[in-house]
C-alpha cells in the first residue's frame, strides 16, 4: 500500500460522493465543522467541495495553531531574539506570519539570524553546532507538535545544553472546540475531528461533544477519501439521530492516544491559567507553558518577555473567520488589503489558514466550473 494513491482512487471517491448525496436529507441544511486547518487545506486542495451537495456545508474551524496566535506573541518572540548572538529558529510556516514590525523573514532580511527548521531536534542541533550563540526555538502547534518539543527539552536538559531555549506557544484543541460550541453565533450539526492531534490525545477527549452537546464527531484522515468517508459517517449518524465519537483514521489514530507522547508532555509542560487566542479571546487552561523544572530552557522564564498585547487592525475579521462565523471571502479585507503576499493576519499565510486556502485554491473559480468539467 502506498497510503496515498489508494485514498485518492477516483472510483472510491465517486462512490463516497454518491453515498453523501444519498444520505443528505434534501429538507435539511447540514453545517459540519472541520476543526483542523490541515483538513481545510485538503478540502480546497482536492476540490472536495465540488463533490458535495448544496445542503452539506463545511465550516472552517480554528485548528490552525499559527492563525490563533495573537500578533503580540510573534512580536514577543522576535523581540526576545533581537539580541546579536541569538538565532531565531521556527518552522517554515511561521516565516511569513506578520508581526507588528514585519515577519520573521523580513527580520531576516534586516539582519536577524532566522533559520527554518523542520523539527525542534534541528533547533537543538543548531545550538550544539553554534555554542557561542543562543538558539531560541519558537514552538508552535496543538498537541500534534507538543510532544516533540517536550522530548527536545528533555534531551536539552539531559545534555546540559545551556544555549538553547523554547518560546512556547503550544495550545490545546479541546478548549478551542468548547469556545466554538459556547459561541452564540454558531449552529453546528457535527464535527470532522482533527486527525493528527488525535494521534496524541486519542478519541476520548471528544466524548463530551457527543454526550453533552449531542453532536457527532468523526476523527478523520487527510486524504480525499478519508474526509469524504468521515462526512458519510457523520451523515449516517445524523440520519439515525445518533451522536457519538467515531474514528475514521484508524490506520493512524489509536483510540487511547499515545501514552509515551502524553507522558513527555506532562513531564515538561503544564497548563497556563489562561491564554489569549486571536478571535476567541482569553481562554482558561488552553495553552501549555514550560514547567519550573525546565526553567533554564524556557525563554519566558530565562529572559524578559515584553508581553505587549497587540490588537488586530480594526477592519480585519480574523476572529470571525477563525470561529467559522464568516467565510474568508466575507472579510472586508480579503483579497484587497490582505493577500498572501501582504497579509494582515496569519490566516492568509499559514498553510493551515482558511483564508490562504480559499485565496490560493478557490476564490477565482467560476461557480459554473464544476458543471463544465467534461472529463
Amino acid at each position: 500500500m502506498k497510503y496515498v494513491d489508494e485514498f485518492r482512487s477516483p472510483e472510491l471517491i465517486s462512490r463516497a460522493g454518491e453515498e453523501i448525496r444519498r444520505l443528505a436529507d434534501p429538507k435539511r441544511h447540514y453545517r459540519i465543522m472541520e476543526v483542523c486547518g490541515g483538513h481545510t487545506h485538503a478540502i480546497y486542495r482536492f476540490g472536495l467541495k465540488d463533490l458535495l451537495p448544496e445542503n452539506v456545508e463545511l465550516i472552517h474551524g480554528p485548528g490552525c495553531p499559527v492563525c490563533v496566535l495573537p500578533m503580540g506573541r510573534i512580536d514577543d518572540g522576535l523581540a526576545l531574539a533581537a539580541e546579536p548572538n541569538f538565532i531565531f529558529a521556527a518552522f517554515g510556516d511561521m516565516m511569513r506570519v506578520p508581526g507588528t514590525h514585519g515577519s520573521p523573514l523580513e527580520y531576516k532580511a534586516r539582519g536577524m539570524d532566522v533559520r527554518i527548521v523542520y523539527s525542534p531536534a534541528d533547533a537543538l542541533k543548531l545550538a550544539r553546532n553554534n555554542p557561542e550563540k543562543h538558539v531560541m526555538f519558537f514552538a508552535i502547534g496543538f498537541e500534534t507538535t507538543a510532544p516533540s518539543t517536550a522530548l527536545t527539552l528533555v534531551r536539552a536538559k539531559a545534555e546540559g545544553l545551556r544555549n538553547f531555549s523554547v518560546f512556547c506557544n503550544h495550545v490545546t484543541i479541546i478548549p478551542a472546540i468548547r469556545a466554538i460550541l459556547d459561541s452564540p453565533d454558531m449552529r453546528l450539526d457535527g464535527f470532522v475531528g482533527p486527525g493528527h492531534v488525535s494521534t496524541v490525545i486519542g478519541c476520548r477527549p471528544y466524548d463530551w461533544i457527543a454526550k453533552d452537546e449531542g453532536k457527532p464527531v468523526v476523527v478523520s484522515g487527510f486524504e480525499p477519501l478519508d474526509i469524504l468517508q468521515s462526512i458519510v459517517m457523520l451523515l449516517r449518524q445524523l440520519r439515525n439521530g445518533e451522536a457519538k465519537v467515531e474514528n475514521q483514521y484508524k490506520r493512524v489514530v489509536p483510540w487511547e492516544g499515545n501514552s509515551a507522547a502524553l507522558r513527555a508532555m506532562a513531564e515538561v509542560f503544564e497548563l497556563r491559567p489562561y491564554f489569549e487566542w486571536r478571535g476567541l479571546g482569553f481562554i482558561s487552561q488552553s495553552a501549555l507553558k514550560v514547567r519550573a523544572s525546565y526553567a533554564e530552557w524556557d525563554s519566558e522564564q530565562r529572559f524578559t518577555v515584553p508581553g505587549v498585547r497587540v490588537t488586530d487592525p480594526k477592519a480585519a475579521q480574523c476572529g470571525e473567520v477563525l470561529k467559522g462565523v464568516l467565510k474568508p471571502a466575507q472579510c472586508k479585507l480579503f483579497g484587497r488589503e490582505c493577500t498572501p503576499e501582504q497579509p494582515v493576519g496569519a490566516l492568509m499565510v499559514s498553510s493551515e489558514g482558511s483564508c490562504a486556502a480559499y485565496f490560493n485554491y478557490e476564490h477565482r473559480k467560476p461557480v459554473t466550473i464544476a458543471s463544465s468539467m467534461a472529463l
Binding site: R45, P65, V66, L105, S351
Partner: protein
C-alpha cells in the same frame, strides 16, 4: 530609454529573497522597477529572450545568472545549469543558441579544483548542446561576499524559421504540452542541501531542450503558439504568466501531469506543490488543437521526449487563471509562487 514620465510602481523599501524566487515578487520587481526605467514606454510582454533586428537579421538574446547551493548535486552542477539554462531560454523563444559569454564572480579562497570542475562541466555541456563559448569575464570578491561562485551568462541565437510565438497567438482550444516529468531538479537540490532527513534516487533533469524544440517546430511550425522553460517558480508560475498575458484560462488535468513517484512523495511529505518546483530540463508548449497529436508524437519519438504529455488546454474560463482538475471532479486554482516554497508544520 526611460521616458521622463517613467512611473516606478515598485513600492517596497528593501529587496527580499522572494524577489529572486521567480514568482509574484520577482514579477513585481521586474514590471514595477526595471521595466519602466529600462524597457521604454511599451515593453510588451516579458519573455525568456529578446528578439532583436540587426540589419534585417533577427536574433534572440538572453541573459541569466546562476546562484545555486550546493554547487554540485546529483545529475549536475552550477556549470551545466548555466549553459543549459541559457540554451533553453533561447530554445523556448524559438532560437538555436549560437554563442554564450560567461561571467564568473568568484569568492576569494575558492579552491581551484572546484572552479576547474565547474569550468570543465561548462565546456562539456556546451559541446553537448552544440553551442560555442565565445568569451567571458572574471571578478574576484572578498571572502564572504559571494557564495563560492556566481555565474552569469549571456547567449545569442538564430531564430528558427516558421516560428511565431507570443502569448497573443494563444487561442481557446489550444493544448498544453509538457516535455517530461516535473520537479526533479528542485527536489534534488532541496534534498542535496542536507537539511532534511530524506533520501531519494533523484537527479537534476538539467539538459538542453533544443533538440526537442527543434523537432516540435519542424513538425508543427506555426502551430506552436508559445513556449517556456518552467525553471524557478515551476509550471504554475510559467502558465500563470501566460494566462495573465493572453487573458484566457488554462486548465490542467492533474492525472496527466508526468511526475516521478519520488518527487510526488517528497512533495507530499513536505507539503510542497510539484507545480511550483523548479525544472531545468523541461519545457511547456502551447500548440493548436489540430496539431497537438502530431506535436506530441513528434516529441515522444525524439530521444529524451518519451515522457512528453498533453497536460491541459486553453479555455475561456477561468480567465487569466490556471485551474487544476482531478479525475473525480474536484478542482482548484493554482497560482504563481509567492516567495520561496516553505515546508509546512503539521
Amino acid at each position: 530609454m526611460a521616458t521622463p514620465a517613467a512611473k516606478i510602481r515598485f513600492r517596497e523599501p528593501q529587496i527580499e529573497m522572494a524577489h529572486g524566487a521567480g514568482g509574484k515578487a520577482s514579477r513585481r520587481l521586474v514590471e514595477g522597477l526595471f521595466a519602466p526605467l529600462l524597457f521604454g514606454a511599451s515593453p510588451g510582454p516579458l519573455g525568456d529572450a529578446a528578439h532583436i533586428q540587426i540589419n534585417g537579421t533577427r536574433i534572440a538574446m538572453t541573459t541569466d545568472s546562476f546562484v545555486v547551493k550546493p554547487l554540485r548535486f546529483p545529475g549536475g552542477s552550477i556549470g551545466e545549469l548555466a549553459i543549459n539554462g541559457t540554451v533553453n531560454d533561447l530554445a523556448v523563444s524559438g532560437a538555436r543558441a549560437e554563442a554564450i559569454v560567461v561571467t564568473f564572480v568568484l569568492e576569494a579562497g575558492l579552491p581551484t579544483e572546484i572552479l576547474e570542475a565547474e569550468v570543465r562541466a561548462m565546456g562539456e555541456a556546451a559541446e553537448k548542446a552544440g553551442v560555442r563559448i565565445a568569451g567571458g569575464d572574471t571578478k574576484v570578491v572578498e571572502h564572504g561576499a559571494a557564495d563560492k561562485m556566481y555565474i552569469s551568462t549571456t547567449g545569442i541565437g538564430r531564430l528558427l524559421t516558421g516560428v511565431e510565438i507570443s502569448p497573443q497567438s494563444v487561442q481557446r482550444g489550444d493544448k498544453v504540452l509538457l516535455s517530461g516529468p516535473i520537479g526533479d531538479h528542485g527536489i534534488t537540490i532541496l534534498l542535496a542541501r542536507g537539511d532534511l532527513d530524506l533520501e531519494a534516487e533523484l537527479r537534476s533533469d538539467t539538459r538542453s531542450v533544443f533538440p526537442l524544440v527543434d523537432k516540435l517546430v519542424q513538425g508543427v511550425g506555426a502551430g506552436v503558439r508559445w513556449m517556456r522553460d518552467p525553471t524557478r517558480g515551476g509550471v504554475a508560475t510559467s502558465l500563470n504568466e501566460l494566462a495573465r498575458d493572453c487573458g484566457h484560462g488554462i486548465v490542467l488535468f492533474e492525472e496527466k501531469i508526468p511526475m516521478r513517484d519520488s518527487v510526488r512523495g517528497a512533495c507530499e511529505l513536505l507539503g510542497l506543490d510539484p507545480l511550483h518546483i523548479a525544472n531545468e530540463g523541461q519545457f511547456l508548449a502551447i500548440v493548436s488543437a489540430e496539431h497537438a497529436e502530431r506535436a506530441l508524437a513528434a516529441l515522444r519519438a525524439t530521444p529524451g521526449g518519451e515522457e512528453a504529455a498533453m497536460i491541459g488546454e486553453v479555455r475561456e474560463q477561468p480567465a487569466s487563471c490556471v485551474l487544476v482538475t482531478t479525475l473525480y471532479g474536484g478542482s482548484r486554482i493554482v497560482d504563481m509562487l509567492v516567495g520561496d516554497p516553505l515546508p509546512r508544520i503539521c
